[in-house]
Symmetry: D3
C-alpha cells in the first residue's frame, strides 16, 4: 500500500511522471518511422534567475544516448537565454521533457529567491527555514537549491545530509509551551547540547521580548550565543525598533556578545531593514520555499540538421558561450 | 547511489525531512522528563483556501498514538480557522510538524488555485497541464490536488493512475516540428489512437491558426473532436478575437461540431474571457502548479488539560464543528 | 514681568489681539465720518463642521450696541452657510473681527474632530486626552469644544471645572517608571482613591500587556474597573489582535468585568477597528487637539440698508432660518 | 464672572491646565514615599521641525528646583532627537508635563510652518496674517512663533508689542465696502497715516484688479508703496498670470516702483510660483496658524541614577551636544 | 495659380485625393482581368459614435453602378457595427475608399462630440464656435456635422447658408478693443442691428464682468437679450461661482430677463457645471472642432458571391437591420 | 447643384467661411467710423508645436493692404510665443480671422504630430497614410503639413502633385481578397509596375506573416524591395517579436535585402519599439491625421499706436526676433 502520492526515484527515472502527450507523440513518431529523428532541443527560461537542478537532470538522462550542454548551477541567467541544449535521437529523451523542465523550473525558482535574500543579508548568516511550506518529498530539493542560491545552511535533516553539513536550528515555541517557561528550557538546552552547538534561544513565547532576552542572558551568561526574535504578526511582528531596542538593552547590561537572530515573514526588503537596525542573522521561510517556479520552455530547433521552429520562435540553435558540456 | 534529492516515502515516514529543531526539542523534553506530556495541537491557515493533503497526513501518523480531527479534503477554509486538531503525547507527533505542515500547505495552495479556475470555467472541461513547472517527485501530488480543487483531469501518467483515471492530452509542438507538418501528424494520430481517445489537434505550429484549423477539419472530418489554440506570447497569445474568429470560420464551413481547446498562460480571468468568446475547454499550467503554498501554523493550545498559548494567540482549543475525526 | 505670551481675558476684551488693519480701518472711517455706518455683517465657514465658540463671542461683544444671530453650539453647518449675523454700527464691533473669527474657527475645528470620533465610538466612552498637544492657555477651550462635539469628558482640571464635571484620567507611565513596577502602583492607587473613582490601570510599561493585565486583575480583583492599552508605535501600537487577545485571556481567567481602555494615535478609523475587536473606551489625543481650524470669513453684506458685497460674493444677507437671536 | 474659557497666566502657572492623571500620580507617589525621587526626563518630537516655546517653559518652571537643558528656539530638530532634558525631584515638575508639552508642540508646529514659507519667499517680505484662525488667547503666541520661524513681522497688536515691533497691515475689504469705493479710501489712508507707514492698498474689492491698481497708482502717485491682490477663490484666486499682468500694466504706465503684495490661501508652493511671477511680498494665513502641533513626548529615562525606560524606548539619557543649559 | 492646398469638389469627385495604392490596385486587377469582380464591401467604425457624412458619400458615388446601404445621419453606432454596405463591381468604387472613409470618419467624429455637448446642455442653446480651429475648407463641413450631432446653430456664414439658417454670433473682443469701451459698442450694436437679431454683449474685455454686465444692462434696458462671459484662462476662466454671482447681481437689479451666455474652453463636463450654476447658453469651440476622427475601416466581405475576409475578420456580410438602402 | 459641403477656394477667399460676428463687427465699426482704425494684431498658440500654414495665410491676404510677419513653416514654437503679426487698417483683414486661425491651427497640429513621428523614426522612411481619416477636401493640406513636419512622402495623389513628388504606396488588402491569393498579386504587381517603382508587398491577408513573407520573397527574388506587416489588432497587431522573427527568418533564407515596412496604429512610441526590433519603414495614419489642431488666438495689441489688450493679456506687441516679414 502506497504511503504518499509523491513519485519515487524509480518512477521518475522510468518516466511515470511524464505528461501523457509525450507518450502519444512517441507512438505517432514510431508509426511515422520518425522516432529516431536526430534533433537539437533547447531550454530557455521566461524570466531572469539563478540556474539550479542540472545535477538531477543529468541523473535523469545519464544512461541515454544524448549530448547535454548546460549553464552551471548557481549562475545567473537572463530571460530567453539558452540554459540547456540536448542533442540526439528524439526517442532518447522526448518523454523526459516534463520531468526535466519541472526539475529546472522549481529548483531555479527557489535558488533565485535565496539569492535575493543573500544579497540583502550581505555577509551575515541567512538560513532557510522553509521546509514547513513544501511537501516533504521536495523539502530537501528546496533546501539544497536555497544553499546553491546563497543560504548559509539548511534546517532539515535530510537536506543537510545530502549537502554534507550539520543542519541549523534551535528549539521552537512548542518546547517552551510544554515546559511552561523559557528560562528553564534555555538551561536544559545548555545542559545537554554538545559544546560546539550554538545556544540561540527564542524569547517571544510568553513575555516581553526585551525582558525575556535579559532573563535568558542572565541565566546562560557567556554561554549564550544569541536570542531569536520571532514576534507573531498579531503582536506587530519583528520591527526595526524592536531589534534596535533589544540590542541597546542587551548592551547596557553588558551582553554585547549576544547575537540577535530574527525570523518570521522575512523578505529581502525586511532583511535589509532589520540588518540595519542591528540584527545579526536571519531565518527565511516562505520567501524562499513559496517562490514560484521559473517557467522553462523546451523547443526543438534543429531536425536532421535543418533549423526549424514553431511560429514565434527563431529556427536553429541560439548560441550561448556560457554553456558547458556535461555529458 | 542516490538519483534524485527528493525524499523517499520511507525517509518521510521516519522523519528525515524534519527541521532539526524538532529533534532538539525532543531531546530537551526527554531531559526534562516531559516528552510524553499530553497536549492538544491545532493547525490553522493564514489565508482562505481549499483543504487538501489530509490523506497523506493520515499516512504519516497512522501508527502513532494520537487522535486526529480534520476538515475534509475539498472543503473551503477561512483565514485562522482550525483545520486540523491532534491530541496525544507530544512525543508521538512532535517531530512530524514540518512534514505535516508542508503537506497541507502545498496541496491546499494547489487545490485553491484549481478551484478558482474551475469557477471561471463553469461546466466546461478544465485540465491541469502544470506538471512541467514542478519537480517530478511532487507532480502527481500537485495533479491530485488540482483534481480535488476542481480540475477535470490530470495529464501526468502517475497522477492519473493514483486517481484511477486515464490521463488527458494530445500531442505537443514537438511531433509537428519533427514531422514537418501538422496535417500528416493529425492523420497519423487518428490512424493509431483507440476509437474512444478524443482527436484534438494543436494548430498553431507553422501556419495561421484559422487556416490550419480548417485544413485539419477537412483532413479528419467528423472524427475531429477539437483543435487546440496555444499561440505563443510572441505572436500575441490566444486572444478573444482569435477564438471568436476561428469559431466563426469553422462554423461557416460546417465544422460546428469541432471544439476549441485553449492553453498558454491561462488565469481565471483569461478563462472567463476566452470562454465568453467561444472556447470549449482549457489547459491550465503555471496558474495552478506555480501557486504559492498556503502558510499553515501549528500551535500547542492545551498542555495536560490546561489551556496555553504563546503571545499573540488565544489559549485553549478553538472550536470548529466542521472538523471530522479521522483517526 | 509677563509669564506667558498668551493674551489675558482683559487684553482680548479690549481688542489687543486685533490685527492692526482693523484699527487703521477705524481711523480712516472716522476721518471720513463713516465710523458709525450701520452695517450687517455675516460669518460663513469654508467647510462643513460643528458650530462651537458662540458663548465666547457673546462675552466678547456683550456690552456693545449690536444684535447677534447665531447657529447654536453643537449644530452641524454646511460650507458657505451663514453661521452668524451681526447688525449695528460698524464702530461697535469692527475691531473684534480677528478675535471673533479665531474663536469660532478654532473651537469649531476641535468640535468637528470630536464629533467624528464620537460617531466612530457609538455609545462607548470617548475621552479627550489632547491637552498635551496645545498651548495651556487654550487647553480648556479645546477640551470644552471636544465635549460639545461629543467627547464623554475632559482630562484637564480647569476644563472639567468650567464644564462642572470631574476630570477623567488614571496614572501615566511616569508613576510606574518611578515605582519600578506596575502592580505596586495599582495597589497604591486602589488604596488611596475615593471609592467612586474608577480603577483603570495602564499595563504596557514594562511587561507584555497580556501578562500585566492578568497580574493587575489578580491584584485588584473585583475593584478593577479596567486596564489601559497604550502600546507605543515602536512596539506596533495597539492592534485589533492585541485587544482581542487581551479580552480573551481576561475572560478565560474570569475577569470578564474588566474593561479595555485604549489610547495612542487614535483616529475615527482606528476607533472603529478597535471597538469591533473588543475595546470598551477610547482616549483620543492629537486627532482632536491637532485638528485644523475651520476657516471662517466675515463679509459686510449691507451698508445703511443697501445690499453690498465685494467681488466674488453676493450682495445682501443670505437667509438662514436656523439662526437664533442671542443678543 | 469668567469672560473666556482660556486659562489665565496664573491658572497655567499653578497647574490648573494639567491632565488630572498627573495629579493622581503625585498623590500615589506621595503615598508610596516616592514624590521626591530624583529623575531625569527627556522630551523628543515625533517629526522634524523648528524648536519654539522654550522661553515659556522656562517661565513655567522658573521657581522650581530643576536643571533644564534645551535646544535654542529657532533651531531645526530631527525626529526623536532629544530637544529638552529636565533633572530634579519628580515632584518639582511632574504636574507640568501637560502644559510644557503643549507649549512646545504648538509653538514648534507654527514655527515650522513659518520656516517653510520663509524658505519659499527667499529674501522677500513675508507677514503672518493668521490671527483670525486661532483663539485670541494664543494669537500672540502663534505670531511670535511665526516670527521665530521666519516671518518678517506680526499683524496683531499684542504680538507686535511682545516682539517690540510695529505691527504690519493696511486696510481690509470692510473699509472699501463701507466707503463704497477704493480710491477714496486710499486717499484718506494717505492723508492720515504717519509718513513712515507704508501705503499698500487692496485693489480687488469692486473692480478688475488691473484697472483698480492703475487708478490707485494715479491717485497716490509716488506715495504709493504697493497694491495688494487678494482675489477670492470664487474669482479664481491670485494666479501667476494675474500677478504678471498687473506688474506689466503698472510698468507700462511708469509705476514700476509700486510693489505687489499678495495674500489669500498662500502655501510655500504658491509663494514660489507667485514670487517667480513678480510678487514682492506675501501675507500668509492658515498655512501657518492652522499648522498641526508637532507631537512631543516626555519620557523618564533615569530614576535615582539608574537608566530606565518603558517598553519601546531606550533606558537612560540620549546625548545631544546641541542642548544648552538654560536653568 | 492655386490659392489653397485644399481639394476642389471636382478634384475630389474625380479621385485626386485617393491614396495611390488604390490606383495601383485597379491597374493590377485590370491586368489580371478582375477589375469588374462583383464584391460586397462593408464599413465599420472602431468606436461608438454618431453617424455623419452619408449625404456626401452619396454625392461621391451617385453616378456609379453600385447599391449603397447606410445608417441614417444622426443615428448612434456601436464599435464594429456595419454602418455602410456597398455592392457592385469593385472597379466602380474601389478608388474612392480613401475619400469615402475620410468623409465618414471626420464628420462622425465632429457629430459625436456635438452630441455629447448637446446631452450636457439639455434643452438650452448650444452653438458651435469651432470654425477657428479647422481649415476653412472644412469649416462648413464641421459645422454641419455639429448641427446634425445636436448643436443649435452654426456660426460661420457658409455653413449656415448650406443649412438654410441665419448664423449665430455677436461681436468679439476686437470691436471693444478698437472702440476702447464696451458700452459704446453695445449701444452701436443695438442701433444698427435689425430688431429680430438678439442683443448679446461680451462683458469681460476691460472691466470686472459683474460691473460690466450691470453697465450694459443699464445702457440697453429691456432690449438686452444676454451678456456673454468669456473670461480668459489667465484670469481663471468662466467659473461656476462667476456665473452664479453675475446671475444674482443681475437679478438684484431687476435684470432677471438678461440671459447668461458662456464660452471659452467648454467641455461636456463644464457645460453641466455652468448650466447648474445658471448659464443659459453655450458657445463650444475646440471640444467639437478638435474632436478626433472616428477611425472607419472598409472590408471586402464577399467576392463573386463567396464570403471572404482577411485574417482577423469574419468572412461574409454582418447583418444590420438598421441600414437603409440609399442608392 | 453642390456636390460637397467643403468650401471652395473662391468661397474661402471672399470670406464665406468667416464667423458671422466678424461681419457684425465690421458693420458696427463702420457705423462708429472706426473701420479703418490702424491696428497691430498678434497670433499666438496655446501649446508648443511646429509652424505650418503660412503659405495659405499669405494667399488669403495677398491683395490686402497689410504687413505680415511670421515664423517660417517647419520651425518650432513655444506656448504663447508670437508666431504672426499683422499691421494695417482693421477693415483690411478683420473678417479673415476665422479662416487664418483655422489654417494655422490645423496645419500646425498635423505638422507637430508628424515631427514626433520623424523623431521616433530617425533616418528611416516614414510615410503619412492618414488621408483615410480626414475629409478629402483637406487630405492634401494634411499630407503637405505632414511632409513639412517630417514625413518622407505623401500617399494621396493630389498632395504629392502639390509637393512635386511621386506618391508612395503599394497595394491594399482589397487586391489580395479579390484575387484570392497574395503571391499572384505580387507577381502581377511586379509584371506591370515601372522598374523604378519599389515592390513592397503586404503579407498578412490570408496566411501567417512569416510564411507569406518567405513565399513572396521566393516568388519575386531580388526584385522584392520589402514586405509590409499590417497585422490587425484582432490578431495582436504588429509586435516587436513579430518584426524580429520575420527579420530572422528572411535572413536565414538569404533574403536579408528585403526591407520590413510596418503599419497599423503606429505612434511615436511604437515606431521606436518596432524600429529597434528591425523595422525599416513606417506608415503612419491616425496619429498624424487625427492630431488635434493647436489652438491659435489673435489679439489686437496696438490701436492707433496705443498699446491695448483685453484683461488677461499684456498691452502692446510682444517682440519675437524669429519672425520674418513675408508681406
Ligand atoms: Zn515566535
Ligand atoms: Zn513560515
Ligand atoms: Zn503552441
Ligand atoms: Zn507553462
Ligand atoms: Zn504606553
Ligand atoms: Zn498624543
Ligand atoms: Zn480680497
Ligand atoms: Zn485665512
Ligand atoms: Zn473674452
Ligand atoms: Zn477656441
Ligand atoms: Zn493588414
Ligand atoms: Zn487608420
Amino acid at each position: 500500500d502506497r504511503l504518499f502520492f509523491s513519485a519515487t526515484h524509480e518512477e521518475i527515472k522510468k518516466g511515470a511522471t511524464t505528461d501523457i502527450y509525450f507518450i502519444k507523440t512517441m507512438e505517432i513518431l514510431k508509426y511515422m518511422g520518425l522516432e529516431n529523428t536526430d534533433v537539437v532541443a533547447e531550454v530557455f527560461p521566461r524570466k531572469a534567475g539563478i540556474m539550479c537542478g542540472v545535477e538531477e537532470v543529468l541523473s535523469l538522462l545519464k544512461d541515454k544516448n544524448v549530448e547535454i550542454y548546460a549553464l552551471p548551477e548557481g549562475e545567473r541567467f537572463s530571460p530567453k537565454e539558452t540554459v540547456m541544449r540536448i542533442k540526439g535521437p528524439y526517442g532518447e529523451f522526448g518523454i523526459f521533457e516534463t520531468a526535466l523542465l519541472g526539475i529546472l523550473a522549481q529548483s531555479s525558482g527557489w535558488a533565485t529567491a535565496a539569492r535575493e535574500c543573500r544579497e540583502a543579508a550581505g555577509d551575515k548568516v541567512m538560513i532557510c527555514f522553509g521546509a514547513r511550506h513544501v511537501h516533504p518529498a521536495v523539502a530537501p530539493v528546496m533546501e539544497r537549491a536555497a544553499v546553491i542560491g546563497g543560504a548559509s545552511n539548511a534546517s532539515c535533516i535530510l537536506a543537510a545530509k545530502l549537502l554534507n553539513r550539520q543542519p541549523s536550528g534551535t528549539v521552537p515555541h512548542a518546547a517552551m509551551l510544554i515546559a511552561g517557561d523559557t528560562v528553564s528550557v534555555a538551561k536544559a538546552y545548555h545542559e545537554i547540547m554538545p559544546p560546539d552547538s550554538p545556544r540561540i534561544i527564542l524569547v517571544d513565547t510568553f513575555k516581553d521580548e526585551a525582558e525575556e532576552s535579559l532573563a535568558v542572558a542572565e541565566a546562560l551568561g557567556k554561554a549564550l550565543e544569541g536570542i531569536r526574535l520571532d514576534t507573531p504578526s498579531e503582536r506587530g511582528g519583528v520591527t526595526r525598533e524592536l531589534v534596535y531596542e533589544v540590542r541597546k538593552r542587551l548592551d547596557q547590561k553588558g551582553y554585547n556578545y549576544v547575537k540577535i537572530f530574527v525570523s518570521g515573514g522575512l523578505t529581502p526588503e525586511r532583511i535589509r531593514e532589520l540588518s540595519e537596525a542591528g540584527a545579526d542573522a536571519f531565518g527565511v521561510g516562505s520567501y524562499i520555499s513559496g517562490a514560484s517556479p521559473i517557467d522553462m520552455t523546451m523547443d526543438i530547433k534543429v531536425v536532421e540538421g535543418r533549423p526549424v521552429a514553431k511560429r514565434g520562435r527563431i529556427p536553429g540553435i541560439i548560441e550561448n558561450p556560457r554553456l558547458k558540456k556535461i555529458k
